[in-house]
Symmetry: C2
Subunit: 343 residues, 2 copies
Amino acid sequence: MEERTEIANLGEFGLIDHLTKNIEIQNASTILGVGDDAAVIDHFGKQTVVTTDLLLEGVHFDLMYTPLKHLGYKAVVVNLSDVYAMNATPTQITLSIGISNRFSVEALNEFYEGVYFACEKYGVDLIGGDTSSSLKGLVISVTAIGEVTPNAFVKRSTAQKGDLICVSGELGGAYLGLTLMEREKKIYQENPQIQPDLENESYIVGRLLKPEARKDIIEFFEKNNIVPTSMMDVSDGISSEILHLCKQSNLGAVVYEEKLPIADDSRKAAYKFGLDPTVCALNGGEDYELIFTLKQEDYDKITLNEEISVIGYMAELEEGIKLHTKGGNQFNITAQGWNAFQQ
Amino acid sequence: MEERTEIANLGEFGLIDHLTKNIEIQNASTILGVGDDAAVIDHFGKQTVVTTDLLLEGVHFDLMYTPLKHLGYKAVVVNLSDVYAMNATPTQITLSIGISNRFSVEALNEFYEGVYFACEKYGVDLIGGDTSSSLKGLVISVTAIGEVTPNAFVKRSTAQKGDLICVSGELGGAYLGLTLMEREKKIYQENPQIQPDLENESYIVGRLLKPEARKDIIEFFEKNNIVPTSMMDVSDGISSEILHLCKQSNLGAVVYEEKLPIADDSRKAAYKFGLDPTVCALNGGEDYELIFTLKQEDYDKITLNEEISVIGYMAELEEGIKLHTKGGNQFNITAQGWNAFQQ
């Protein structure tokens, strides 16, 4: 960055004006946006869906290898992913940030560029937020609001025995991207002369730094009259998500290793790092795909969509939660997902 | 605290279960609460109001003199205050927290006790959130959602020339409470043997640590068919808020020093600290009172309510924004409110 404008030069309200002056409202339901005590949304005849996520520097992202524009984009997308996971359509977000004086206005502009880019792409309005100084580290809190036809939302707790377990897209890529970036960071810290070796790794790096929410899958459901029996998004890793679906639906599950969708680029990266691609796919997290269950009679409808893989089925509680491996073994699936409080 | 349970013993999901197991839903519009990707709210025939605030340790609160239970209560109340400031009724909140491992489960319990106490008192439902570890410092993000009869919400930008400027309750107390606590903290740090001298200061300490949102004022408006022409809550100090109302309504204002509502306890504390009570009332902030403008013909209606003071009137833009002092002088009102980015 060439220029550096200190945030103190603008003041809090000047900063808010600066960051929000170009907002264009995209949803008719946005009655009042940024600039008052609260925003106002009209939801006649629809139900409102609300979700929120906190992203903290050093815990959820590392600014050493995360461009601010990508971070802004991702902060929005991970929240929209939760709205889609309810079979709902996101319509508005609020965004609060805490920033230390090591950030310049130009740096914040980059962050907001990513935010607005995501808002435009997914058709949501930024309607409010809070801007604060922080003593240390960047703090990001996003709340997303969406709408859904009354009682058409899909919970985690309503899977039925025999339902097919499906997942969108591919798994494990974001974790492998993270592994690569952490490895390159360590090499750089030991010897700043060495340039990062990211060639041919754009797929896994993209999965980490610029995830997308599966708007297309929700649109596909609507177009084809598909209503999943349960659904959630894949943020902690599908092992963890399958355990959630089973626990909340009071069922067991069978998942087939050979059915897990893993991109060739992820497989290659896993082998390069000496990791098992299956373990990365099961436990990696941050894929922001959708995992959902379907009645068996809906199977024909989803074969139309190459982005959806059937990976197993819901079983009796007593059958446990099992992975059937390619080698013919069975293992209990356990939560190895990202756990915020484990050291 | 006698017991100390490490958060890692519960794990993230165990912690969420633990913190949310006693939630009782208070609003019929809460269709689905904590435990899924997003919450679901029904708002047929109403408009939805959304507001959010970020509270960061070391910036917005000091845990050295802020009991966690009070902090939980205040984190909710400051958001509800923004909903009332729209002339709306809060119905739901989401709460995200980032916590370092210096907090025990018992400490978090205290924080949530305060959160639930506020939810119960104000009749709002906690419907979701995010729980994360933080490297350092407590991070709190609350989003409040409310409802309002279509187009009955009150903005900041709609005051008219000649409207009365009114304020609820009393001003400056929270700032004096903060001044006291910071003074006692400094004395304690210099000599931990000296016990804090908070006797006879319970009013100002209470204004700082346990503010209330003015639900009663909104109820009074409804009961008496009063619709303010503009309104906002007093979080940064009324100088700053008056400047907002004037700027957004494109008007000037006249405020009378002698009309500023200041409690006797605040006045005494100000003199004790060598401060001007008027300056504390104008610039103090964190009072969470409501400042609003009214048509002159509504004057008779508000004289019924002892909690409302008329402090001035909206003037032409060209007249500026003036304080008329008791001594007969006129000063320009400038924003001395809390500015997050000033050093």
